[in-house]
Symmetry: C2
Subunit: 297 residues, 2 copies
């Protein structure tokens, strides 16, 4: 389950609630495209902003719409107690796996983070992916801590932050971490911009924002890399450079992809929760141009 | 209300809920010591970790236990919708003011933060203090944005992050911000370690973690600074250097003060919510030594 392309859809919402039909539609598209797994309620799916009830509902909709494709559910929360409840909800609804980030308000210590994962793993019956995303959690995993957590029962993957664009540096990074974790724990790249590099450098999977809205584009890169055709993987990724420029200029992938989904009509506007907003004005026009230029549909 | 010493108590909790008697006891001590205001559900009061219901209950207990001392309630949350609900709860319970930090998971833009404060201010009937705490919110206010937000109705104070230990640099900092905000908006220092410097540099108030557990110590520094006796204020702060060393070494004030409250018996152990933990083992022994050395009670 934690190999190949894991596609992370948006959770379209407005202040009144989840747009259920639109969310199910996004998941159905991913199932039809035959991605390897669907990462529901990741950062792209706004998990941190939703109530327990909203998260349970989104989980149920995803499982009902994903067909045979495994559904992985983000269960991160500030409190260990809440994560345990979310893990139970996810398992009851039929999730195939869970994704857990050490969300923080007060800066966490290594010992606190280890105990947090330990408590959750003890109560889980499905596999877990450790979600290392310092940009949103503000927790920096040491390699040593990754090694310790990866020994816990149920841990089967680590979603790592973007690697270097330099392929040799990326290979070194993956090799260093690989040496510290059990063989049955996969490493997955996040950060669409360096995903091709990450896959070529030895990552087993790509946890992909791009794949949540444009699964064919992300699958083409993934399948090329999996077949050892590194040149094609890199070329396909380079062709998306105008999109990567938007990511870099507008604070990451979420607002860009959420804006594209609105423009293309996959979701209504607004689809992010206040205070978050999609891109407007001249910037939105630039996003429209990139959609045309890259023939994104 | 937003001048002098604002004391921030812990919210003693365990996984089963709020320790109501202990919390009321902390608030009563502050009222008896005659602090100028009580800052409930600040970062020290673990607001980010509590449910809406828990926060409403803590607010009610605080208002009931604070006597004549104004109670300021932290209403920060990731979603604008949730902040509006928390503001309503706080006002209904009898809070004299509210404290709002731009809590984030996805990095926020200036425009999003302004709209967030604007929406909240439009619905408030009590005064608001802008809570600028980049260490926990991961949002960096520009001075220009502070200036804009300070023009909103209901904004009456800004809780600023630690100033420089260099008095001239601190004075420049306060002067620069002061020039951008209306006259009736006070500036309050946070960061106990530099509080004396902040007050001497021109801050109108001290939003104090120390004051939440040791109100007399914090009041002595505040009153000296208010009387223009800068030397005494600085001397009293310098005497607490062993405590400031603990803050620096153990990731800030929260874990140190929460550990001290456990050692002194003001709260039961544990009083923080998992995954957060108070200090244990050899470190706890060091904390005990500092309590003795400084005769903290």
């Amino acid at each position: 389950m934690f190999t190949g392309l894991s596609a992370f859809p948006l959770t379209p919402m407005n202040e009144q609630g989840i747009r259920e039909g639109e969310f199910s539609g996004l998941v159905e598209r991913l199932a039809k495209a035959q991605v390897d797994s669907i990462g529901v309620l990741g950062s792209t799916g706004s998990y941190a902003y939703l109530s327990r009830e909203e998260r349970a509902r989104v989980t149920q909709l995803a499982v009902d719409s994903a067909g045979d494709v495994p559904v992985i559910i983000g269960i991160g929360a500030l409190r260990t107690r809440d994560v345990l409840a979310l893990a139970e909800d996810a398992q009851k609804a039929g999730a195939s796996g869970v994704l857990l980030a050490p969300v923080s308000y007060q800066k966490l210590t290594d010992d606190e983070v280890f105990s947090h994962y330990e408590a959750v793993c003890c109560s889980l019956s499905v596999p877990l992916c450790v979600y290392d995303n310092p940009g949103t959690t503000h927790f920096e995993f040491s390699d040593e801590l990754h090694g310790r957590i990866a020994q816990l029962p149920q841990v089967r993957s680590i979603k790592i932050p973007p690697v270097s664009t330099d392929l040799n540096a990326a290979r070194e990074r993956v090799k260093r971490l690989r040496a510290l974790v059990p063989e049955d724990v996969t490493l997955g790249i996040s950060g669409d911009v360096v995903a091709a590099t990450g896959l070529i450098a030895g990552c087993d999977s790509w946890y992909s924002v791009l794949g949540g809205l444009f699964p064919e584009k992300a699958l083409a890169i993934t399948r090329a890399a999996q077949a050892g055709d590194n040149q094609t993987a890199q070329r396909l990724s380079s062709e998306l450079e105008p999109l990567w420029v938007l990511y870099r200029e507008y604070g990451g992938s979420l607002r860009v992809i959420a804006t594209m989904a609105e423009i293309l009509g996959n979701v209504s506007s607004p689809n992010l929760l206040l205070p978050l907003k999609t891109l407007q004005g001249d910037v939105r026009k630039r996003v429209e141009q990139v959609i045309e230029q890259l023939k994104l549909v």
